[in-house]
Symmetry: D2
Subunit: 349 residues, 4 copies
């Protein structure tokens, strides 16, 4: 019953098999391998973006920080939600990679910025000329850090605001596939057709071992990104093993199948928990992550049975069995119906 994160589960067998195949013989290093060329071709097809520049790195923090640094000057500020991974969970990596840019936190509901809030925040910055930070890129996360999903229209509205100020847009897609299957749209619709300029396209949380693609729809940024990736220590000599993961992930729409499984597991979990009296969800979960509160006694039962998830608000330790603690639960592709049902049964008590 591992709902702690979608980074604790196993790598999908297809990805493991691809790594084994990629290991045959010799390959050119640093991204000049044949598999990388196939990855680029495949991603361009999937995104209907024949000019896109495509790169691989091994972590989401690297994908976000290096792509943002390519679009941000050190005296700029990046607009994002207060819950953004780049703000809360990257130990100042964006500030580091940009050489000291700032992050401006746009008020958000359930981790989603409205286009009005974004417009107000951007308009509010740089009324001070040289004294204040300058307006930099907008960064959106989809699936958000609270498990909600921006619709295509919402993404477009945010991008329109950004474009109105001539600012580029970055999409943190650590859970890109989960958002896509939740929306039922195409990758192009969720990105460049809506106005997104660069995507961190996650693989690690959805069945890969450790690989994220960075996709620039305008290739003019390509060489600078390559230099920044190398300078950050994120250019792999044996890039073929990143490429092999990504190719297997995309092959036969595996990435979409795995995201559907994860979302379905979460939906099953939500359905079950909602039927239990006293369990309240913080907001409607849209993909593979949900937040809900119930009494300590229920958490204690789950914990004693080995269920793994974060207590988001409150502390498991405590005297009052009725106190409400909030749980963050994330399902990955490998979550079985049995484990979901067992979790629900334990929560019910």
């Amino acid at each position: 019953m591992y709902f702690a994160s979608d980074n604790t589960g196993p790598v999908h067998p297809n990805v493991m098999a691809a790594l084994a195949r990629a290991n045959e013989g010799y390959a050119m290093p640093y991204g000049a391998d044949d598999i990388m060329a196939q990855v680029t071709t495949r991603i361009r097809e999937i995104f209907e973006a024949p000019e896109a520049a495509v790169y691989l790195v091994a972590t989401g923090t690297a994908a976000n920080s290096i792509s943002l640094a390519t679009l941000t000057r050190p005296f700029d500020t990046i607009f994002c939600s207060p819950e953004a991974h780049i703000h809360e969970d990257e130990c100042n990596a964006p500030e580091f990679y940009t050489g000291g840019a700032k992050l401006t936190l746009v008020p958000a509901e359930d981790a989603k910025m409205s286009s009005d809030a974004l417009r107000n925040s951007i308009a509010g910055e740089e009324t001070r000329g040289v004294h204040g930070p300058q307006r930099g890129p907008v960064s959106i996360t989809n699936v958000t850090e609270r498990g909600t999903v921006y619709s295509v229209a919402e993404i477009k509205a945010l991008c329109d605001v950004a474009k109105g100020f001539d600012l580029p847009v970055h999409l943190d897609g650590a859970r890109f596939a989960n958002a896509l299957v939740a929306l039922g749209c195409t990758p192009a619709e969720m990105t460049w057709k809506a106005g997104v300029d660069v995507v961190s396209f996650g693989g690690t949380k959805n069945g890969c071992m450790g690989v994220e693609a960075v996709i620039f729809f305008d290739p003019k940024h390509a060489w600078e990104f390559e230099l920044r990736r190398k300078r950050g220590g994120h250019l792999f000599s044996k890039n073929r093993f990143l490429a092999a993961q990504m190719l297997a992930y995309l092959e036969g729409d595996l990435w979409l199948d795995l995201a559907r499984q994860a979302n379905a597991a979460n939906a099953r979990l939500v359905r079950g928990l909602k039927q239990i009296d006293g369990i309240v969800f913080l907001h409607e979960p849209d993909a593979n992550m949900s937040f809900a509160g119930w009494a300590r006694a229920g958490h204690q039962r789950l914990h004693d049975a080995g269920a793994a998830y974060y207590i988001w608000e409150g502390q498991l330790d405590g005297d009052n069995p009725d106190e409400i603690l909030t749980a963050r639960m994330v399902a990955d592709w490998s979550m079985s119906d049995e484990n979901v049902d067992r979790f629900i049964a334990l929560a019910r008590g």
Copy 2:
């Protein structure tokens, strides 16, 4: 009628005379001049801090950023109010000098953080271990950017919170003298006795040409500060001309006299404006800066007569003569009663 800022007025004649005296003959460069030694002695006396390390730079942004960088690791976050000069008006200088630290904005009322708000903000950070930014220094401004003044007790309460988390405290004292005479306390009471570790001690806004002292009460940071100052290009070869300004500023308590004049000019202005119907102050002004709103027609009269101040909210241009626009007015030491009274008369109409 120059109320635009306390950086538009003239340098006090004593300071000019000191520059002329300092110009006689040769002097050792880079801070090894005799005048600097006298400055250090005098500041230690004034602050009752015989061990303090004292340095001079020419701008407030340099004083703030370099002193903060000495106390902040690049993966830390600095706690300050949303109105802090270091956040709003330094074009990411703190992020630059710290190598990419973050600023956490603590909710504040009239630019003053409460100790509760500070405690909540600090407690809220770094619950994520290695993932989030680490807790760094607290930075307080007194006089605040909204013209309010923290009492000694309020400063102590903030420092106590910081010390409870083992965090150092920086005081942005661009208007240190104005706060001090408003409070009627000693420099030691407003700083190290309350728990402040380092002060940006302003001279520029209060009658100097361009000089700020950085005072570390614990000299262990001295050498690192010197290296960071040099690396930032803020070590003056002809340091004697910074030192001469500061020495003249401190001599015979000139600094306190000038601050009293500025505060008195502001008080006269506030008294006068308050007697006019329809003029509303955003909050009670404590020192030499005030914010108040009145109708466009009044602003237009002042503007036509050559009065200089910022329209803080709203735009001078506009059709409706009754619309309320908010002014920011700052008085420096050189403001005459005549000019204050003329301003009031014009506002009255």
Copy 3:
């Protein structure tokens, strides 16, 4: 006949098998997995360093830059050879990770610094007090970038110089195993017993997929390293797959066996080429990399037959078949005797 680098060959089957095993079930993320604990234990045993702090990253540039940044202040200079990978091949990564430190190039012969040259370089820096860069760590590479190997006595002599100035020592051990088996000493003798403070312990070039250990013999640097690793985007959520590689690499002394194979392949190559008239080695190769010159015609034959290696000096394209071009040849663990002999035969013509 892949002699282009030791990063083009396959991953050893034991490492692949370990990855497959590590994939069973769920594991705690971010280094809290069980395999990581075993890696730490094993490295402490191998290095006879029960207190050592051990971390994994995926690239050599990350290992070098983050470990150096932990020991270097931004106003320092790092002492290294002009051929050092950190100077020539990391696109300013050390400058980036340190926040702007400098590298001072110590004259070296065949990429090896003498202790006299190091002493002179260190003595020469920082005679300017606050004006010049301050003395920072010494960085040694073993096997060097020219295929030579420092003896234990030579490392100790360099460390003694560093310690005389109270400076820490970093060892870039991208080819640590190849150096160790060349020297026939213990890991402790080549590192902390000689005075080394931190090691980049390479796995990628010697049979792994992409993993390097950073080993601090004094654990006081541990937490800062963790923060810098995270901030650089080098903390893997699925760290278990880095740990599995490293554990397999160390198990049953696989790492030493593979290095012996690589060194032996190189020795066979050198022996064969030396018997050919007109082939001149730049210097005596000590491990698995060698540099030698011969006529263009020979290079052309090899090239036409598909041999892969770098032309270090000169250009393959050219009219004069007798012009001497220098080759850099690197053997990895997977190089067969047949391929070595075929290479020699083609060079002979």
Copy 4:
């Protein structure tokens, strides 16, 4: 007898008088003052560059570092001589302001790079694609740090090399006036007509209190420079006092007169010392700085009489009165013939 540096002498009376004049009344802050407008106009005239962007800062390190940062990407390397002030005397300020760029030291004779040496250095960098630093600007110092002067033809030859690689050229003109009067050319000939893109135009060492102009001949860099200046804490609120210095410095060709006086004082010193047996100059001094060696006994006499200058090589303390110690002597505009002659007499013994 102050020959320690040209930063120990007095400010010229005209500059002091201009500061007093500038102090009358109120002025717009942050460079919007009227005097600044006059400075810009005057510098454009002097340099025959009607489009040039002109900015003032207070130190040479700021002028060099911020102007270079505007032209350098963080993954670039700057080409300069090993004696360059930006390398030896700025405590890593260029590395700091550029966000971690590197400096490549071009072999130089008497601190002058030849165009061949520069070409070789540039050609040698970036043969490694993404792995090595990228080629960045060339930085020339005139007068050099060893007191030699590049001719216009030599500057042009260096710029031609830079332009051949499409690289910008920066001129560190801390002693711009001294070089100009030594060459007898126009400011335009020594800069943009020869191919220089940006100049640090020094005032501090030649009679000002602390002011340097940064001149971009192509104004496209203007706004970025302004942001970088502010972010570095080098934008003065009371900019009028920087501007007043610079305007007085340029008025009536004061700057050229003062440089002529300094160069003449140095020439007189050199003539006198050359007539003394046993005094050997390191190289022919071209402007206001010279390096020469003589016996310790002579240095001791000068030292006892209060002469101030640096012992460049060797130590004043020592037993052997015949040991040769090298002196660095710098004359500024205020050096009297009497003091020069007294120095010579003491050196003669």
